[in-house]
């Protein structure tokens, strides 16, 4: 897909990304150093450091903290604004490409009657204007936005999350594989490469994301079937898939929807099949400052369900759905050596296996 923008627009976007690099690379390490010095002098308890009111009282008025949060927020707003500004100039051309039908391997099935859940319809996740489903350009906007948001640390193909997931998957023959909340789906390409014999499916609520995903998959010769569905209520028969995975889906839905999705995945998994969910780590597994900074996203980065997700006991939800479960960590290039806006981290992969019948 031709996603070019003018040199001028790219320069504007570069600058916005530069702000994110500045926050992550300069402000955060200095803030962390200052905070550690303060901890050494004041010796606060672990309980205090895990209390957000205490942390807010300690850091809220700190100019470095404020500069970091303020620039993080402004850069996020500016990022979407600049991506949309750049792509808007080419709207008719991109829409025409997205609407073009293609007979290549794989398929696309849209459902114009699908009801959007309120939690989804009423939110602009990570501040993306029009969310995933209200702007026909949402797919390209998301892909360019994510490359900028993650400061190009997702690897050149943007697929490092998929590679991280592949690195921890059990070695298992799969006939059918499902990617829930696939969005543009390119993070699933490493799974297609790792399991080339399987039939790969992707579902999402958003038609614009799926149209883009289909287009992109054809271009990259990754045969995949896309279908517009709610992961809480899929139309697949029982026991249909050997592997079901998702990345960055569960933190964007409320707890009751997570329970529905896990139950639904357990239903469509074949006996012996595996559910793998890759996300950022839980607060409890991070140092207190990183956890506090990460929690900031809940109110300030359009992530209303972020806090609940990162504090819930997902393994228990898996067990309640009848899955045998374990938590694995996977290396993150995005959160690796340099750290991102909230520090360094490894991904958490919650794995569940449906017992053999």
């Amino acid at each position: 897909m031709d996603m070019r923008i003018s040199r001028k627009h790219q320069a504007r976007l570069d600058l916005v990304e530069g702000l994110k690099v500045f926050v992550a690379g300069q402000l955060m390490p200095t803030l962390r150093q200052e905070f550690e010095g303060w901890c050494a002098a004041e010796d606060p308890s672990e309980e205090q450091l895990r209390n957000s009111q205490f942390m807010q009282a300690t850091l809220g008025a700190n100019p470095l903290y404020q500069a970091s949060r303020g620039l993080q927020r402004l850069s996020q707003e500016a990022m979407w604004q600049e991506v949309i500004y750049g792509l808007e100039q080419r709207r008719p051309d991109i829409e025409e490409q997205l609407d073009r039908e293609d007979q290549a391997a794989g398929s696309l099935t849209l459902n114009p009657d699908l009801m959007m859940p309120d939690y989804y319809d009423n939110t602009e996740f990570h501040l993306q204007p029009g969310n995933f489903h209200k702007n026909t350009l949402a797919g390209p906007v998301y892909e360019i936005g994510v490359a900028t948001y993650t400061m190009h640390r997702y690897g050149k193909a943007g697929d490092e999350m998929g590679r991280a997931l592949v690195s921890v998957l059990p070695d298992r023959h799969c006939k059918r594989v499902l990617y829930m909340g696939c969005g543009p789906a390119y993070k699933g390409y490493p799974l297609i490469d790792a399991l080339p014999e399987a039939e790969h499916w992707g579902i999402d609520l958003a038609a614009p994301m799926l149209k883009f995903a289909r287009h992109r998959a054809i271009e990259h010769e990754k045969p995949m079937h896309f279908s517009q569905m709610n992961a809480e209520e899929m139309t697949f028969p029982d026991g249909h898939f050997d592997l079901i995975y998702c990345m960055l889906l569960l933190h964007e839905v409320p707890t009751r929807a997570i329970e529905n999705i896990v139950n639904e995945a357990a239903r469509v998994l074949a006996p012996g099949g595996v559910l793998a969910n890759l996300e950022l780590p839980s607060y409890a597994s991070l140092d207190p400052l990183s956890a506090f900074l990460m929690d900031w996203d809940t109110e300030h980065n359009g992530e209303p369900f972020w806090r609940d997700y990162h504090q819930m006991d997902l393994k228990q939800t898996y067990r309640d759905a009848g899955l045998e479960t374990k938590l694995t960590e996977a290396h993150s290039e995005w959160g690796g050596a340099k750290g991102n806006y909230m520090g360094k981290f490894r991904y958490h992969v919650t794995m569940g296996r449906k017992p053999e019948a």
């Binding site: 976007l13 530069g18 690099v21 957000s52 008025a61 620039l71």
Partner: protein, 89 residues
């Protein structure tokens, strides 16, 4: 964690010194002015040599990783925002 809201009435920068903010603005204005001046001279020189300036408005692949371009950009941002990176003065 319960609440992680910011200072007063959503002003993210309420305690960041205004002088540091103005240092950022001044650094930026200086950069922009020097660049505009340089660009005007450059375009004059090029037009004088009968060179087509269409490349200035060409389309490029969006968000492509290019280490040189991004390193230059990082240095630029660090220079402009330097005042915010240290302890308050």
């Amino acid at each position: 964690m319960e609440d992680n809201t910011q200072g007063i009435s959503g002003d993210y920068f309420s305690n960041v010194s205004k002088s540091d903010m103005m240092r950022v603005v001044l650094a930026l204005a200086t950069e922009v002015y020097a660049m505009r001046d340089r660009q005007a001279v450059l375009e004059d020189i090029l037009l004088g040599c009968d060179i087509d300036l269409a490349r200035l408005d060409e389309q490029v692949d969006a968000a492509v990783y290019d280490e040189d371009r991004l390193a230059e950009r990082d240095a630029f941002v660090a220079r402009v925002f330097a005042a915010m990176a240290g302890p308050a003065r």
